[in-house]
Amino acid sequence: MNTLQLQAEAPAVHSRVAARPPDATDLRLLERLHGDFPLSDAPFADVGEELGLHEADVIARLRRMLDDGLLTRFGPLFQIERAGGCFVLAAMAVPAERFAAVAAQVNAFPEVAHNYQREHRLNMWFVIAAESQAAADDVRRRIESVTALQVIALPKEREYYLELRLPLVP
């Protein structure tokens, strides 16, 4: 049986800014590389040609932006829901004195993807990623059992838009 697994990265801190800010060419490159990366034999060379950059420069800039954390990833973005997978947004009201302990309990579940602290009575918001709705429900119940707190499930009923595309080039 194939299972869905999630691999944790080091938690990031919101206010951190890059040591080396991207220059205008970096931003132009990011703008171009939001999507439509060529499915060609030498795609970096092709993108370079479009932008008037050498292939080696395209690759070096991407590598630096990944190393600096300006990019979290470069590659295909998979959409597991189209393959029957399931993402469920969940929220909990965690007492302040238990927050760190509960965060550790929740994060220990490999099915828990993003987990954010938010300023609200419901102060912990996370995404459960599972192979099916039933599997997501099961994870939710196990989190409730382990934390003795209610987990509110807010599955998406309708998606109006989903594409993080922030203006990069002024």
Binding site: N2, H14, S15, F37, R73, V106, E119
Partner: protein
């Protein structure tokens, strides 16, 4: 999940990203025992099927200066919510927009629009624009700012057993 074993191996081979070299598809193909053309053609197929949303760069918007992340939530009239949701989702500063169930009494909101800005005042300015668009159809709203990322994972489809 209805993925072929080749799809799964392709996913596993690219989960960390594409190799940053001249012929990235050729390199992935070599790992999987196929040619670069087979990799390219299946990636194109997965794009067509929507199994892949896009191939490209995933920016870390915090590092790019978008440090204020506000989840704006709205209690919108059920009859109007779908028509309005499409319009909210089309606003340039909204990155994600969903309809979700209300969970009374703890959660009265059914429309979620994620807004990113360089500051909280910028986020509030955007929220005001959403409010204008929703007009009389909105009963109540809130903005939940994220204060900390507790966990952020990369999706990994593996074959465990």
């Amino acid at each position: 999940m209805n993925l072929t074993s080749f799809d799964r191996s392709l996913l596993a081979a690219t989960e960390a990203g594409l190799p940053l070299e001249s012929h990235p598809y050729e390199t992935i193909g070599a790992r999987l025992g196929v040619g670069g053309a087979a990799v390219r053609s299946r990636l194109a197929g997965m794009l067509d099927q929507g199994l892949i949303r896009r191939i490209g760069a995933v920016p870390n918007h915090y590092r790019l200066g978008y440090t204020a992340n506000g989840m704006t939530v709205w209690d919108v009239d059920d009859v109007q919510v779908d028509a309005l949701g499409v319009r909210v989702g089309a606003l340039p500063f909204v990155s994600h927009c969903y309809r979700r169930p209300r969970v009374p009494p703890v959660w009265p909101y059914n429309l979620f629009a994620m807004v990113h800005g360089h500051s909280r005042s910028e986020v509030e300015h955007y929220a005001q624009q959403i409010r204008c668009l929703l007009a009389d159809s909105v009963r109540s709203s809130d903005i939940l700012y994220s204060t900390r990322i507790l966990k952020k994972t990369g999706l990994r489809l593996g074959s465990a057993g």
